[in-house]
Symmetry: C2
DNA sequence: TATGTAAATGGAAACGTTTCCAATGAGACA
DNA sequence: TGTCTCATTGGAAACGTTTCCATTTACATA
């Protein structure tokens, strides 16, 4: 037998012996109905296994009951957890989650937003490469579709769920100073395309100066470098005077720990490392990672809450930044006075990082 | 000014000076049209910034161009990566991804499937607690909606993208035997609710017997235990004769490494540990994890491919299991002959795991 | 020129829902 | 009994699209 077409509200009305309008009112509890009619309709719906057809509803009500969510990648647990947070916040709300990933690509970002818009999403939650200059995002204003960002610091009056990257990064500089470090560095992966990374550097830089540290070295590396400990080791070796490194995310910080072993350095004796994000695995390392602990899930939840409020007509309101905390870990300590720079330079591998010069760029914020 | 209602195909037709049907044919390239008409319509569409309305389309065509995806949780990178694989495979296909998470809850699983069905998804990709006895999943048959599972071994003729857990786990037993271990254990988190975990144990158990090892100890722990190294340590200490442990996933294996430090044991000298999944962070540990390496992303891709094929009317076909490999790592070695059991027992902390008895259950597959 | 064929085109129905509005009926009050 | 109210109820339009089918047009052939 061929798949029986699902029952429609018409079928329910016919079985209940009433008009379609009445059936709709009963099933939606959206209007008056006698007790008897109510019972007849509900019974009919139950008997037929009736379910609303979302398309019909969406067409008529001009609401898709769907929320679009765009993140760079789900392979990054930070974003995956955020989406998880969004998802769980949306759970009882009746809204469904439409997902898109950009793989950190600006064009893909815009294409994804456009697609979401074509799918009539009622709202959008996004983390993008450049939300401030996304043409696609402009259209949301025109169409009056609320947008709630995640991770981004506030820009252009867009509402966002975030931790204050500037302030958090400054905290790291303060800790470095407290331990007596003077030459420090900032390690970033996608510095040019990540406003978060740039804000972290800015806050770090500012506080370094305030605390009397030397201007921090900005070390930008490629994905390739990050995945090859020996390459990363060579890069690190080319900054022999840096005694503490702030990595713009935990994965980078973990990669640094791994790379230092290639150099025969000890963390934190020879090099202190602090990460950002506070991913769970950082705790499990033999030397637990010192890091800025954030809650991506909370960001997802807050973004979802803001959006739901807006969708209820309560307005889209910016909330204060989410809290972060410094997780002590064991990768931050005072610089080792016994080891001289020469010792460390001597331990450096013979192969020098080929792109070393480019990577030594020291940019001001 | 209030948000301008988006242009409809009617507007396009009017501006192009043709019938709606013609406009539709041109825009969809679904029928004949003169070159001149084609130009007029396309120009009108461009000028109006026309986009199809998904709801109207879905209603008429009875296709939502939407695929539902249900996973236990996105906080687990294994599933997050799988979804990422699904997502990227779907990218150019015109299908959108609707996401749901069950948090490993059977009822939530069924509720989620029902919701997806109500949203008229054209197909479903899922990893569930118990797909074989999901009543909601039955409905997909009735409505002729293709379903493609991920991670599950084949059951009930359902199509699934998976690695052969039984065979992969047997490989671990073989490696244990090759290194000369005789007393081994299997550590599981959600043994009773995870068919994957059970299949891994079954394969492991079988091969242990075949290779002449003692019957492996089945050690089932709670989420709580896994997060508290001292608790896990106490549990491990209660299996003093076990020299090699197969953890049913990498996180557990990493937790074990961490817990052993509480006992003063060295991995792999005092205890060999092998994980399952092959998550990236395993590589970054000071002692890189030995594990069965799989590709969740590939599973997601394959599941999506199968579904897309089915959606094109090519039929839903089971494909052979995806490959896995044994990642050497450094947490598997020969048992240390110098350390006696007594030594190790002596190192065990005084506090004994309270639920120890229950956890010592040794079940046959 | 008349006829036939194929290509191009448009009208209109249908998809499933919500909701406006008019119609019905019952009870209350004078 | 006759009006008036108010609660129920149902008809029908509208949402934006696709597609069947009929009509028109152009052109080639007899």
């Amino acid at each position: 037998m061929r798949p029986a077409a699902p029952a429609t509200i018409k079928d329910v009305a016919r079985l209940a012996g009433c008009g379609i309008a009445t059936a709709s009112r009963v099933l939606n509890k959206s209007g008056p109905a006698s007790t008897e009619m109510r019972e007849r309709v509900e019974r009919a719906a139950r008997d037929l296994g009736f379910n609303f057809n979302a398309a019909g509803r969406a067409l008529q009500s001009r609401k898709s009951m769907t929320i679009g969510c765009l993140v760079p990648s789900l392979a990054n647990p930070v974003f995956a957890e955020a989406v998880q947070g969004v998802q769980s916040e949306l759970l009882g709300s009746g809204y469904q989650l439409l997902i898109s990933c950009s793989n950190y690509d600006d064009d893909a970002d815009n294409a994804a937003i456009t697609t979401l818009l074509e799918n009539n999403v009622d709202g959008i939650i996004a983390t993008m490469v450049a939300p401030n200059r996304s043409t696609a995002l402009m259209q949301t204003k025109q169409r009056d579709i609320p947008v709630s960002l995640m991770f981004h610091d506030p820009i252009d009056g867009m509402v966002t769920a975030y931790v204050d990257n500037f302030v958090a990064a400054a905290e790291v500089a303060r800790r470095f100073a407290a331990f007596g470090h003077t030459r420090v560095g900032f390690l970033a992966l996608r510095f040019s395309t990540s406003d978060r990374s740039r804000n972290r550097y800015a806050g770090f830089y500012k506080q370094c100066r305030t605390s009397g540290l030397a201007q921090p070295s900005l070390i930008e590396i490629s994905e390739e470098d990050a995945h090859h400990p020996e390459r990363l080791a060579a890069i690190l070796a080319s900054y022999p005077d840096v005694t503490a490194l702030f990595a713009s995310n935990d994965f980078l910080a973990i990669a640094v720990q791994k790379a230092t072993r290639h150099l025969g350095w000890q963390v934190p004796q020879d090099l202190s490392v602090v990460g950002f994000d506070g991913i769970e695995v950082g705790r499990l390392l033999e030397t637990p990672l010192s890091t800025i602990e954030t809650s991506p899930e909370a960001m997802g939840r807050q973004a979802a809450q803001s959006l739901l409020n807006a969708l209820q007509g309560l307005g889209l309101k910016q909330r204060p930044p989410l809290p972060f905390s410094f997780r002590e870990g064991e990768t931050l300590a005072a610089p080792n006075p016994k080891r001289t720079d020469d010792d460390r330079v001597a331990a450096q591998p013979s192969s020098v990082h080929p792109a070393q010069d480019q990577n030594q760029s020291r940019t001001n914020p």
